[in-house]
Symmetry: C2
Subunit: 136 residues, 2 copies
Amino acid sequence: MKIGELAKRSGMAASRIRFYESNGLISAVKRKANGYREYGAEAIYILDMITCGQQAGFSLEELRQLLPKGESGWKHGELLEALKRKVSDIEALEGRLAETKQHLLRAIAQIEHKPSDIDCEDNARQILENIQIKAV
Amino acid sequence: MKIGELAKRSGMAASRIRFYESNGLISAVKRKANGYREYGAEAIYILDMITCGQQAGFSLEELRQLLPKGESGWKHGELLEALKRKVSDIEALEGRLAETKQHLLRAIAQIEHKPSDIDCEDNARQILENIQIKAV
DNA sequence: ATTGACCTTAAACTTAACTTAAAGGTTAAG
DNA sequence: CTTAACCTTTAAGTTAAGTTTAAGGTCAAT
């Protein structure tokens, strides 16, 4: 499979795949006689791992540490720890998100319960203060 | 209050406050005879609004549309709609996050239940496939 | 009157994660 | 045989959200 097909199948731009290779996220692949990159079907899994990892909040730098590079296989211990750390991160984020949502809902309620007959300017600061989402 | 004090009180770098002013997020403020910016106490609320909005997932571009600029007060309707949209965004994010977490937990379980006696290379793809977090 | 802590502006730099451009080689079709 | 659709590389551009730098004005104290 040439890079164009891998791009189509993975939903990634070819430039992005080359970018990942040049940045060490994926190992350099075999070339045909003409210099074209030739990928096997498993390449799609690696690329999917990257997008999945990104969705889970891993940066490319983090993924570079975790993805199996060339001959060296997975590092179980490290991978496991990273996954567990990421679960903690997600839990923290869930908490923050829930709080933020409550503040937004309270702000909405406040705006909806004071119809247009109030003086906007005078009450701006009050809404302002209530809309605030305290740093977590 | 000069910009340095506002910076300290708001926890923002002075450069950041100037940046917000030059980018139209906050309206230009009065100057003293020497050209120094002079802020009133309410400035802190506006800055807090910005950090709060950012925490809630608003980009500066979005905040620029929503924050009261100069004489014009708040636009209730628009603000309300934006807040509601943001709540929807948060709910969608919550769902995605929960899913991601499940996938991570499953991946962790799988790794923990196959101890080191298995052949990493042979099973890499299997783990790989199971770790995948489907795009939402 | 000079040091140090402030303030001013404009412009350049930073980081992440890519994309786009420039310049050129390869291949399949008509 | 030429044209279009691929592929290659290196380098430069993009976006967001600031920060840093350079060059200079101001102010309070010594």
